[in-house]
């Protein structure tokens, strides 16, 4: 279970999160929606442990542990996974090398035996096939020269390989056409399980047609201002964020 309580965070000295409360139980999919500047991406980076995001108050308890006290790599090894809005290109590091290093770091942390080259390739074949990814994408440097859709598929592949307990999907729909969105959503849906929680962050309702959440929260000006079921997303689609004091047309 993930419990976010009264979370306050600053970026560049500016208060962005101003008391976020959220509880996510195993197997649940929560969506966070909100206008630009509401603090959606800040929340995802604070949870993943990025430098430069200063937590000034509140707590995040992750399966009984203090998540905020952990280094980013510890959080990942404990099962936190952030699917990036903008996956980073890393020239010179092959995608397979990256995936193998990541999976073995995680396995080591969990006290499991590291995978040898053969076991790793077998696992990778299995997972890539399901996502319709080519071998060639694995040989290339991480995300270098990938299209928007390929980058997001690569994120999904990493999630499939690392099998997190808590996945945060940050604006996964951005930069995707409808076909790419469907493929990625299918990949994510295949990973839904009673043990795995997800936090889907999005500006638009569209993504939630494909990844259907159990709960929807509206984040505005650094706080969760409304929570509800999946119907809340449809309501937002119709009325926009005006009800929350935000006029996006302005």
């Amino acid at each position: 279970m993930i419990e976010i309580k009264n979370l306050h965070a600053k970026v560049d000295g500016k208060d962005i999160l101003k008391g976020v409360d959220l509880t996510i139980r195993p197997g649940e999919v929560h969506a966070i929606m909100g206008p630009n500047g509401a603090g959606k991406s800040t929340l995802s980076y604070v949870l993943a442990g990025r430098d430069g995001y200063e937590v000034t108050d509140g707590s995040v308890t992750y399966y009984g542990k203090d998540l905020l006290a952990m280094e980013p790599e510890e959080r990942a090894a404990e099962g936190v996974f952030l699917a990036f809005q903008y996956p980073v290109e890393i020239p010179g590091v092959a995608n397979t090398t990256f995936l193998k290093t990541a999976i073995n770091a995680t396995r080591k942390h969990r006290g499991e035996k590291e995978l040898d080259a053969m076991q790793f390739l077998k696992l990778l074949r299995e997972k890539t096939k399901a996502l319709g990814m080519s071998d060639e994408m694995l040989k290339r440097a991480v995300n270098v020269g990938f299209s928007g859709g390929e980058k997001k598929r690569n994120e999904t592949l990493q999630m499939a390989v690392l099998e997190p307990k808590f996945a945060i999907l940050d604006e996964t729909d951005s930069g995707l056409d409808i076909d790419a969105l469907k493929i990625v959503a299918e990949g994510v849906n295949a990973l839904r399980s009673p043990e795995r929680s997800m936090l889907v962050i999005t500006h638009y309702q569209r993504l939630l047609d494909y990844i259907v959440p159990d709960y929807v929260h509206v984040l505005a000006a650094g706080r969760v201002v409304k929570s509800g079921g999946k119907d809340l997303a449809l309501e937002l689609e119709k009325n926009g964020y005006r009800d929350f004091g935000v006029d996006e047309a302005a």
Binding site: E71, P72, V88, I90, P91, A102
Partner: protein
Amino acid sequence: MTTSLYSTRGADPTTAPAFLAPLEGRDAAILPVVADLRARGRARFAAVGLPTVKNEAWRYTNLRELAKQSIAPAGDSAATPVDRLPTVRSAGAGPRLVFVDGRFRADLSTLQGLPTGVLLTDFASACRDHGDLVAAHLGRLASADDRPLVALNSADLTDGVVLRVGAGVAVAEPIELVYVTVGREGVTASSHPRALILLETGARAVLVEHHISQGGAAVLSNHVAEITIGEGATLHHCKVQRENDASFHLSHIAASVATGGVYDNFILTLGARLSRNEVVSALDGRDARTHVSGGYMVRGHQHADISTVIDHAQPNGTSREVYKGVIDDHARAAFQGKIIVRPQAQKTDGHQLNRALLLSDNAEIDAKPELQIFADDVKCSHGCTAGELDDNALFYLRARGIDKETARGLLIGAFLADVLDEIAEAPIRDAFQDYVAGWLEEQR
């Protein structure tokens, strides 16, 4: 080429006696040409001494610490035990000459794998058996007049290597030269090896130099190589320097490439307290090519200097120059890249790139590209960058469970990966890659 590319202005003659006094009585020259070069080297070095930062070519590399050392010529190393010898070979034996503290060690060397038509020998044997060859090439490309350290090398010219690959002969096996420095406590033992390398028309060879230390004593290695590439001949010359961080490593390589010839040079610098690698590659014939590249990785208080001169003297020449460096802690590196395109060298294609990765706020790179173009129909480009590790990439890797040090290692390795691709021969590339990986491993 009579035009001086270099001047000795700013050198300090007061530094000379400490280097020259110990040489008194070491005069058993084998050949008149050697005796003559020694005498000229001593006279010249006595007059100029060590270069100082007042000389533009030495602006970024200060030899003040070298001047403070208690210099003594390396002693007799004929029986010095040697722990292990590095090689780029994964199996089997091949031609290899070994030098310990600058002196040839026949007992550790082998000519196995050399085809006929190749002369590979130590300097003393060459003087005895091939005096004409030595007389014809010694001091021809590296001038003691222009460069104080070439003068100093000449002053104590004692040993080295002579390689001649006959016309049309292709040497399949890489020829390895292993320089082991041992030195002794209390002094900075100096050695001044010379290499004379001659590839005749159409010859091909691959030369690999290893420079390592055994133990932690400070030494001064001051190498000079004179390399003549004949018409249509090709030499791939790779060097890795892994000396201990108390030592001084100075090297001057002067190559002259005839029509249609190729001289490729790759230098991997990992060791020494202070190192300077000068590579002068003169395209003295038409359609000649040269490719000089390398990597430097320094930390602690190390200083690495790469100073290159590509001299396009004839038409249709091609030069390509790629260096990449990683600098950590308080280390410093300097890159000076001069490209000269002489008036008759039309249709020259020259390209130069130096990229440095700074891993600490105290790390420093000084880079000075210098293009002197006197012809009008040429393509020349140069680029220099200095940057830090990409924070976004670092966080991305860590967010996938990879610890910070491993993530940094991956990114540093990735930065250097493509410069190692400049090495044409896979076994050499792999061996050099292992040295880089070893450096990264120690970094953690």
